[in-house]
Amino acid sequence: MGDIAPQLYTLLAFMVIGSIVAIETRNLLSAVISVSAVGFASSVAFLFLGAPDIAITQLVVEVLVLIILIRGTILLDNTAIETHRDTLAVVSSLIFFGLLLGFGAMIFGSRGFPAFGEPVMRVSNVYVQTGLPATFAANIVASIILDFRGYDTLGEATVLFVSILGALTLLRRDGRVRKGEVAAA
């Protein structure tokens, strides 16, 4: 892990700066573009970490989200953000993150984290060792998400399906009308 650490820390610093710019800028279009820059940087970070599957997915989803967000932003008349920040929201989120870090230190402080890049391989060891002989899939990620962890993927597909059903129902232009009911013009 030591040989890629400088590149990874550079990317992480870029992502932190991009997130801060996205929050602090007063223009909606600039905020959208900084959020996308953060997403593309995380895609490159996944490539450095040796996860090309996640990198491809992150890249294509980022492109799609960028198109949709820019399309949604330029449809607005006024893209400048004029409202001031809510002090109560800032204070409460700071308190929340302080509590989160405090409890995290309390829980993990005694046992300690596993080193970066060396996870605890209890279940995953079985997947890595029996992936090819059990499923005959050369891509270990495909054998995990569609065979060992098929339930997870089914849940994801259900979430996507239901959310798109809801979006289409809410956003369509002409709704369905019951028999005998007069449609609103």
């Binding site: 599957d53 997915t57 492109v63 799609l64 198109i67 949709i68 949604g72 449809l75 399906f161 289409l168």
Partner: protein, 154 residues
Amino acid sequence: MNQQTGMTLIVKTVTDFVVGFIVLFGAYIVLYGHITPGGGFAGGVIIACAFILLMLAHGRDVAYSKLGERTASVLDSSGALAFLVIAWAGVAGGYFFLNILPKGTPFRLLSSGTILANNIAIGLKVSSSLFLVFAALAVFRKRSFRAFLEDDLS
């Protein structure tokens, strides 16, 4: 072709050249998901991006003539249903999500049993549903919200 809708002639010409290759690349990512990086979700998003490019360059009507709203809706539902059917087919051999198809030789296209079929089902589902999301978010809203309120409340 109607020159009034969509972007300029340059964008339209380049789009016509490129769209077929984007769909081909997406299909490759879906079909080889069990051998190389990628899979149903990533390839499906790439195919959806091809149709979104068509919609942005040529306008709504050309994109709908290639992949209609109703066709996309049917493809979305049938992809989700195919995934569920493959999962339930495992019950015939023993339990839910059992890999019942013959597995073949590794590193070949026809290998790994139901993983290939699942990838195709997910690719179908994701490509059509993300196209529908874009259509819903970017095209359905023709009127501004203020005009909507004034029309419906007056």
